[in-house]
């Protein structure tokens, strides 16, 4: 698995790209594509569309568990560092406090938990989404540039088991797509 590029499909084409003008058309189209049993497909929207995850039938994200794990790791490291320094590595009486004065360790424990959790959220999101990925077949399509502006797209990959160049195109056209185009793989 190359880190910065997408896996290449077996055929000459990446798949079909359908362009929609309205959010509600895209939303219903996503419901139909899901009902038709496609699995290797995606919707592309300039902003997150409310409820589209459900319409596409996506499973809930694993990211919260990554963040929880990272946050607890950070907090444990922070607390451990302070205990190790003040009880073992460099025991020193300061203001008559005991070596193991845990209430004073709370702020840094908390801060490191937040730091690791935040790093886990951002870099965990990158890892799940396989970003950065600076090259992708969809970037071959010129109208796809509007996916970050004001248009909505559905892409169905050619190596979806249900993919059929004619039938899939007909399905997308029947869902109110403004235009359906074939996207090359290279």
């Amino acid at each position: 698995m190359a880190l910065l590029t997408h896996d290449l499909p077996p055929g000459p084409d990446y798949g079909l790209l359908a362009e929609f003008e309205r959010v509600d058309d895209l939303y219903r189209a996503c419901e139909r594509v899901r009902e038709a049993g496609y699995t290797r497909w995606d919707a592309h929207t300039p902003f997150p569309v409310h409820g589209l995850d459900g319409a596409m039938g996506l499973k809930s994200s694993l990211l919260p568990w990554i963040v929880l794990g990272m946050g607890l790791t950070g907090a444990a490291l922070g607390f451990g560092l302070q205990v190790w320094v003040h009880s073992y590595e460099y025991p020193l009486v300061i203001s008559g406090k005991p070596y193991f004065s845990w209430p004073a360790y709370v702020p840094i424990t908390f801060e490191l938990g937040v730091l690791f959790g935040a790093l886990g959220a951002v870099f965990g999101m990158f890892a799940i989404n396989r970003l950065p990925m600076h090259w992708h077949p969809l970037f071959n399509s010129e109208q796809f540039e509007r996916s970050s502006d004001d248009r909505f797209f559905i892409s169905i990959e050619s190596w979806d088991p249900r993919f059929d160049a004619v039938a899939t195109r007909r399905l997308l056209e029947s869902l109110g797509a403004r235009e359906v185009t074939t996207v090359g793989a290279a």
Binding site: F47, S61, V85, F126, P132, D149
Partner: protein, 481 residues
């Protein structure tokens, strides 16, 4: 609400007035935000950028002279061992709090008007934290030993004292800076992709493309992205409250009358939000006009912001009063002296400047006419920031200058190098902000588009859908879904 013209376009989803005016299309939002970045550099930008760059140069000179000559070039000396430098530090950290408040706390409270200002408020936070971090860095005297603050092994075999609020501060502020950058950059990715896709020249396409990380607006990505955003907001909210609480503990944990008070953490956090909102308001009043974003950054946004300033300003006023009450109620003569001296002693001029700027001036925001008047907002926001700078000066200097022994009493006067450092930090702040508005979309377009009425897939239900939903019986005790 005739003044703001916001009622003319009602959002049909929740029957609330539209947040973005003039019935925008998705594309018109992109155009409005990106057009100033595509256009040649406006002459007015240079009129801000060049003076800011000169002030940044002044900071370079002031800091170099400080390093060369030592801390003696500043006016601080025993008994006033902390003065102008830490005042600047607390001032800038405080300003930084508004960015996270707007981007995280208002996000959790579903305040959708925040989308027009959150990007620039987050950028402002980062630049303010950069300014803040300078001061504790340079005031340690031997700057080349500043790494002793970090928990790394050194040649003496010593370690920092983790029980000290000063070290908590190092962690809190640097982690706050890091998390703010992460939050800001993650929010930027979709807009950087927009910049990449619209870029005309190859260089721009390449540079924005590299930073956009190959974002392709995929909903499978948005799903995790939104979760990450929500989690970051959830993490940043307690973080931002902890940061200024910890800054306040630098003072509150010490045994000094005037500093040793339990009200400090909430009082500092309220003051931080107050000053940060004032700074966002100052910047937004300028940018809104300069980049013609009147329909996105609406008077309604300013109306809400000034209400928050009224609340936090009054909380700060309450804290000032409560400090005096507790000083009297404690029956402690040193405590009572510290506060009488603050209001009536040699620094009374600073104290009453603070009261008039922070407590009296925001009271004008009781009036809607003031909350929606650009000149009043602009002047009041600057007045508030002057007041908030004086608040930190009053807390730090008046508590120190007259200690327990009258033989050690003194009076702090700043030197030209103190003043140069403060002006220079404004140079750094405005230089960074100028670069930001020139190269980065200053409004989060993806977020603004998402609050437009037509962004909701159900805002104009088809007839068959409506019919189906009316046939369905209403759930008992509605609103459970």
């Amino acid at each position: 609400m005739t003044r703001t013209h916001t009622d003319e376009f009602e959002n049909p989803v929740d029957r609330r007035p539209a947040l973005i005016l003039d019935k925008p299309e998705f594309r018109s939002i992109t155009d409005a935000v990106v057009a100033p970045l595509d256009a040649p550099t406006p002459i007015g930008w240079w009129f801000v950028f060049l003076p800011a760059l000169c002030l940044l140069g002044l900071l370079g000179i002031a800091v170099s002279w400080l390093f060369w000559e030592g801390i003696g070039v500043w006016g601080l000396n025993i008994p006033v061992g902390w003065a102008w430098d830490i005042t600047n530090f607390v001032f800038w950290v405080g300003i930084g709090h508004a960015g996270t408040l707007i981007s995280a706390i208002l996000f959790l409270f579903r305040q959708r008007w925040r989308t027009s200002i959150n990007r620039s408020a987050e950028a402002m936070t980062i630049f303010a934290v950069m300014c803040a971090l300078i001061f504790p860095g340079i005031h340690v005297g031997r700057v080349w030993l500043a790494y002793w603050l970090a928990p790394v092994p050194n040649q003496m075999g010593t370690w920092p004292n983790f029980r000290s609020p000063l070290l908590w501060d190092v962690f809190a502020v640097s982690i706050y800076g890091t998390v703010s950058v992460l939050f800001w950059y993650m929010g930027l990715i979709p807009d950087l992709a927009t910049m990449r896709d619209r870029a005309k020249s190859k260089i721009r396409r390449l540079v924005y493309g590299i930073f956009a990380l190959g974002w392709r607006s995929s909903n499978r990505h948005w799903q995790h992205y939104e979760v990450a955003y929500l989690i970051l907001a959830g993490l940043a909210t307690p973080l931002v409250l902890s940061v200024h609480s910890i800054v306040s503990m630098d003072f509150a944990v010490s045994q000094l009358p005037g500093w040793h008070t339990t009200i400090f953490p909430p009082y500092f956090v309220a003051g931080a939000i107050f000053s940060g909102f004032a700074m966002v308001l100052t910047l937004m009043v300028i940018c809104r006009t300069a980049f013609r974003l009147e329909n996105i950054i609406t008077l309604r946004t300013f109306d809400y912001m000034s209400k928050i300033m009224l609340v936090t300003g009054s909380m700060v006023g309450y804290a000032y009063a409560m400090e005096f009450f507790i000083a009297w109620y404690s029956g402690n003569p040193y405590e009572m002296f510290a506060f009488t001296n603050r209001a009536l002693g040699p620094y009374a001029w600073a104290y009453w400047t603070m009261i008039s700027c922070n407590v009296l001036s925001p009271q004008i925001f009781w009036f809607k006419r003031a909350r929606t008047s650009i000149p009043i907002l602009f002047v009041a926001s600057i007045v508030v920031n002057i007041g908030m700078w004086f608040e930190r000066f009053v807390i730090i200097v008046t508590s120190l200058h007259r200690g327990f022994l009258p033989s050690t009493w003194g009076y702090f006067r700043p030197t030209i190098w103190d003043v140069s450092c403060l002006l220079g930090s404004f140079g750094l702040f405005f230089t960074m902000f100028c670069l930001f508005v020139r190269f980065v979309p200053m409004v989060a377009t993806a977020e603004v588009k998402a609050i437009l009425p037509q962004a909701d897939p159900h805002h104009a239900p088809r007839p068959e859908r409506t019919a189906a939903s009316t046939l369905r019986p209403e759930p008992v005790g509605g609103g459970a879904h």
